[in-house]
Symmetry: C2
Subunit: 574 residues, 2 copies
C-alpha cells in the first residue's frame, strides 16, 4: 500500500490540539474554517499520495544530473512539479495580491508534511520558493514584487537560497561573495556558493537565486552582508525570461540521500542582481524568513517520520515470522515490534503537534490583535528551534526504527525503508544544524529573560492540572516534568553562555518531551468515543516509556561546559 495522507490525524491535531479555530476567528485568516482546512488537507493529500509518492523512488534511483551545464531532474519530477504549481500549492500562503491563496502557514505546514512524506527531494523545490516569496513580500520593492512574485507564486519560476560558501557554513558572516554596484542600479555578483538545493533544474522556466553577498565598502561579519535577487534568466520588459545571467552550475553534489534534489555548487561571475531590502540588511532579511524556513525543515523530518511509520506498520501487519505473544499471525504480535511501532507513532504525533503549533503561533503573530501579536511571535520563535531539531531528530529516529521493523529487508534498497533513512539525514544538518538550533534556543530564545518559556510552561501545567479520570496520573507526571524543566530553565537563565550551550541539545529535547506529553494529553482529553481510548493509549505509552527520560535530560543539560573541555584535542586523539 502506498503512502496514505494522514488526514484524520492532521485534522485532529489542527482542531483539538493546537486549536486552529483561533485562526478562523481572525480577520486575516477568516477563510481558514474547518471546512476549508478539510478541503485543503484532502486535495493536498491526494496530490501527495497520487502524484508525488509514486515517483519518490525515481529520484533515488535516477538522481538529478548535470549534462553540458544543464541539470536534468529525475523521471517524472517535472510533471509532478507542474501539478504542484498548477494546483496553486506553491502559493498556498502567499499574498492573494500576487496570486497566492493567502492561507495560514499552519495549513502550508500540513501540506508540507504530506509533500515531504510523499517525496522529500521534490518537495524542497516549492518549499524554497515559498521562503523566497516570503522574503520578497517582506523586503522587496514594489517593482521587484510586481516582476517576480506572480511568477514565483504561480510556480512558473522557482526560488533558491544562496548562503553557504566553502568557508562559511554555520558562520554565515564569513561569506566573501562580492557585490559591486553597476551604473544602472543593479549589482554585479561574483563568488561561489555551495549546497544550493534546486540550484538549477528543468522543471520550471526560470530560477531566482537569493544570494548573500558583500559590497566593497561593507564591514566584515554578518552586518556587511546584503541580499540580492539574481535570476538565471533576466526578465525582459514583458517580465518574461530574457538574457541568460552570468551564473552557472559548477557541479552537483553526490549525496547520501535526497538524490532527486539537485544540490549545486553555483558560480556567480559578475551576474546581475538586485538588492532586496537595504544594502547591509541581508541578515535582517534572512531572519525574516528564518523561522518559517527552519519550521519547514522540521516538517520535512516529520513527513519522513509519518511515511516511514506507515511503511513499517504495513510490513509488521503482513510479515509472518515466529510465534507471537498475542496470537497475531504476523510480527505485529511481538512485543518489541509493537514497542517500535508505538514509539514511531508517538514521536510522529509529537513532532506534528510541535510543528503545527509553531506554525499557528507564527500565523497568530500576523493575525492577532496588535496587543497579542508580540507574545504570539515570541511563542512561535521559541518553538521554532524545537520544531526544527525535534522534528528532524524524530524523523531520523523513526526512519531508523522503520528499518529495524523490516529486519533484513530494511537494509535492502528495494524496500524503500532505507531511502527514508538516507533522505532524512540531511534535515538535521541544513537550515542550521540541530546544534545551532539548540544554541538558538538557549541563547536568543531565552534572551527575553524566560518570558516565552514561562508562558509555555504555564500552558503545559494547565494541561497537567486539567487532566482528570484516566488521565490524572499522567497529568501528575507532566506537572512534575514541568517543574524539572522550569528548574533547568532557571539554571540556563543564570548560567554563562557556554555552559548553556553545553547543555542546549539535551535541554531542547527535554522541551520536546514536555510539550509532547502536553499535546498527547490534551488530545486524549479532547477526543471522544473510541478515539478517546486510542489517544489515551498513545499518551499512556508515551508517559510510560518516553517521558521518564525528561529528568535525565534536564540533569545532563545542567552539567555545564567544563566536563566537555576537560580533554585537549590531543588527549581526545590518543
Amino acid at each position: 500500500m502506498p503512502y496514505q495522507a494522514p488526514i484524520r490525524d492532521l485534522a485532529f491535531c489542527l482542531d483539538h490540539v493546537v486549536g486552529a479555530d483561533q485562526l478562523a476567528a481572525t480577520e486575516r485568516f477568516a477563510e481558514a474554517t474547518a471546512e476549508t482546512r478539510s478541503a485543503i488537507l484532502d486535495e493536498a493529500g491526494k496530490l501527495a499520495s497520487g502524484v508525488l509518492a509514486p515517483i519518490n523512488r525515481n529520484g533515488d534511483l535516477h538522481p538529478a544530473k548535470l549534462e553540458n551545464g544543464v541539470v536534468r531532474t529525475s523521471p517524472g519530477f517535472a510533471d509532478a512539479y507542474r501539478q504542484i504549481a498548477e494546483g496553486g500549492w506553491v502559493g498556498i500562503a502567499a499574498d492573494p495580491e500576487h496570486g497566492g491563496m493567502g492561507l495560514p502557514l499552519t495549513l502550508a505546514t500540513a501540506m508540507g508534511e504530506m509533500f515531504a512524506s510523499a517525496n522529500l527531494a521534490l518537495s524542497l523545490c516549492p518549499l524554497l520558493s515559498q521562503g523566497q516569496i516570503e522574503a520578497l513580500e517582506a523586503h522587496a520593492s514594489p517593482e521587484m514584487q510586481a516582476l517576480y512574485l506572480p511568477k514565483l507564486t504561480s510556480g512558473e519560476w522557482t526560488g533558491t537560497m544562496n548562503l553557504t560558501e566553502p568557508q562559511a557554513g554555520s558562520d554565515v558572516g564569513a561569506a566573501t561573495t562580492k557585490a559591486e554596484r553597476n551604473d544602472d542600479g543593479s549589482y554585479a555578483i561574483t563568488g561561489q556558493k555551495i549546497y544550493i538545493s534546486w540550484g538549477d533544474h528543468d522543471v520550471a522556466e526560470n530560477v531566482c537565486h537569493l544570494v548573500l553577498a558583500r559590497l566593497p565598502d561593507a564591514p566584515a561579519g554578518t552586518r556587511g552582508l546584503s541580499l540580492f535577487l539574481v535570476p538565471k534568466y533576466i526578465p525582459d520588459a514583458d517580465g518574461n525570461p530574457g538574457e541568460a545571467n552570468a551564473l552557472r552550475v559548477v557541479s552537483l553534489e553526490h549525496k547520501m540521500g535526497i538524490h532527486g534534489s539537485p544540490t549545486a555548487v553555483m558560480s556567480y561571475e559578475g551576474a546581475k542582481g538586485w538588492v532586496v531590502g537595504p544594502e547591509g540588511g541581508g541578515i535582517a532579511c534572512m531572519f525574516t524568513m528564518m523561522n518559517n524556513a527552519r519550521l519547514g525543515v522540521g516538517v520535512e523530518g516529520l513527513g519522513i517520520a509519518e511515511a516511514a511509520y506507515q511503511k513499517a506498520l504495513e510490513y509488521a501487519v503482513d510479515r509472518v515470522q515466529g510465534r507471537t505473544a498475542d496470537g497475531s499471525k504476523t510480527i505485529i504480535g511481538h512485543a518489541d515490534v509493537r514497542r517500535m511501532l508505538m514509539r514511531m507513532k508517538a514521536l510522529t504525533e509529537v513532532a506534528r503537534a510541535i510543528c503545527l503549533d509553531t506554525a499557528l503561533s507564527l500565523d497568530m503573530a500576523k493575525a492577532a490583535p496588535k496587543a497579542d501579536a508580540k507574545a504570539w511571535f515570541a511563542r512561535g520563535a521559541f518553538l521554532t528551534p524545537i520544531a526544527k531539531a525535534f522534528g528532524t531528530d524524530a524523523g531520523m529516529e523513526v526512519a531508523e526504527l522503520g528499518i529495524q521493523v523490516h529486519g533484513g529487508m530494511g537494509f535492502i534498497e528495494e524496500t524503500g525503508a532505507a531511502q527514508f533513512y538516507r533522505d532524512v539525514r540531511v534535515t538535521a544538518i541544513y537550515e542550521g544544524t540541530n546544534g545551532v538550533q539548540a544554541a538558538d534556543l538557549v541563547g536568543r530564545k531565552l534572551a527575553d529573560g524566560g518570558t516565552a518559556a514561562d508562558g509555555l510552561l504555564r500552558e503545559i501545567r494547565d494541561v497537567a492540572h486539567a487532566a482528570a479520570g484516566d488521565l490524572a496520573e499522567m497529568g501528575g507526571q507532566l506537572a512534575v516534568g514541568a517543574d524539572a524543566l522550569e528548574a533547568a530553565t532557571q539554571w540556563m537563565l543564570a548560567a554563562e553562555p557556554n555552559d548553556r550551550n553545553a547543555g542546549s541539545v539535551d535541554y531542547l529535547r527535554a522541551w520536546a518531551l514536555a510539550l509532547g506529553g502536553s499535546y498527547l494529553l490534551k488530545g486524549a482529553a479532547a477526543a471522544t468515543g473510541a478515539d478517546a481510548d486510542r489517544r489515551t493509549a498513545l499518551a499512556r505509552y508515551f508517559f510510560g516509556r518516553e517521558f521518564p527520560a525528561l529528568d535525565a535530560l534536564c540533569e545532563a543539560a545542567m552539567d555545564g561546559a567544563a566536563p566537555l573541555y576537560a580533554l585537549s584535542a590531543e588527549e581526545l586523539a590518543s
Copy 2:
C-alpha cells in the same frame, strides 16, 4: 589522516579494564602475555590501517557484482584478503593442530575491531570463516576436520553461514531447505537461502557453506534441522577443489551499505553436502558458535564507532568555523561539537570494554579450571547479547554523530562519514536483530534465576565501592544505578515472558550503562599520571551526561506489555 589503529586504548582496556593477564595465567592461553598481545595489536593494526582502510571506499563505490554467474569483488579486495590470510589472521584463534595460532578470542576480538574499523565489508569474509572453523572444531568428524580445517584456517578457502530463507529469518525453525540422504553417506541439499554474506567471490579458491536443512523424516521447527557442509567445489582425493557442486548464486542484494560484501541469494539444487554433528543437531551446532558470532557483530559496530570517531575528530580539529568559546581556531572549541565528540568517545570505549570482557569470559570458560568454567561461560553468555546490541547501537549512534560533526560535508559521500553510517546499519539487524538479543537477555540469560546477573552486579558494586578520592562521587552514582538495575532484574525475574520482552531493549541498554560506568571508573582508577586525568575526565563526562538515563531506562523496562498492545493494528493505522 587515515584510520589509526587505537593500540593504546586497546592495550589499556585489555590490561587494566578486563584483565587479560588472567588469560596468560591459564595453561591454554599461556602464550597470551602482555608482550604477545602487544605484538598482535601492532601487526593487526598495521594491516588494518595500511592495507584494509585504503580500499574501504573502493568497496562502497564499486560493489561486488555478479557477472555470468561469477561474483567479482571490489578493486583491491582480493589482494587485501590474501594479505589477511597470509598473515595467519583468519586462524588467529583456531586450533594449532590445523595451522591456527591458538590465541584467545579476546585477541581475535581486538583484531576484529581494527579490521572492521578499516574495512567492514571485507572484514566479514574472515569473520565468517572463523565462525565456521569454530563450528567444525566443535562438531565435525576428524575426517572432515582434516579435510577442511587446514584450508579454512589458512584462508585458502572461506566459510559462510546459510540460515535464512525468505520465510525463515528470526524464526530459523521455519526453514524448509531439504536434505536427502545419498547412498555414499553424503546428502543432497535443495533449497534457497538468502542474505548469504560472501556467498561467492573471487578472493579465494573455494567457498564452504554451512547450511541448515531438514531431512525428509525430520520434525517441524528447529529440532528438525541439521547442519551440512556444502562446498562450492567438492574436494578431490588430494583435498584440492574438484568438481563443481550443484549450487549457484541467484543474485546479489542491492544494499544500503557494505557494498563491498557480496550478499547472495544462494540456490542449492541437489548439492552434495556432509552432515556436521548428528542429524537433527543443527541448532545445537549453531548455538555453539552463536555467542562468538554475535560478539563478532557487536565488534563490527564497535569498529565503525572507532573509525567514525577518528574521522569526526580529525574534521573538528581542522575545520575553521565561527568564534569558539575556548579560543580554538577550529570547531572543536564549540561546546556542542565537544559534547558530540565526548559522547562518541565514551560510547566507543564502553562498547570496546563490553566486547573485550565478553570475549575474555568466553575464553576463560575454555581455559579456567573446571570448577570456574561454568560461571565464566554463563558470564560470557549473559554479556553476549549486550555486546551485540550495544556494540552495534553504539556504532550507529557514533556514526550518526560523526555525520553531524561534519555538518553539510557529512551528507556528501566523498567525505566517508556517510559510508560508516550506511555500512553499520546492518549490524543491528543480522546475526539476530537487536530486539532478538534483548529477548535473549531477558529470556535465556535470566533463566538461571539471575545468578549471572547477580555476579555482574556484584562486580559493578565492587568497582563502585572501591572508587575513592576524585572518583568517589561517581562510585556513589554507580552504586545507586546498580540498585536500580537490580530492582529491574528482580522485576524481570518475576514477570511474565511477554512483559519481560516488552521492556527488554531498555533493560539491555540499562545494563550497558551500568557496565559502561563500571568499566570507565575501573579504568580511571587503574590509570596513572596524565592518563589517570584523561580517564577520569572521560568517566566524569559519562556520569554527568550518559549515566543519568539509567533510571528512566529501568522505569521504562518495567512498564509491561499491556501498554504496547492497547492499540489494534487498525487503530495504529488510523
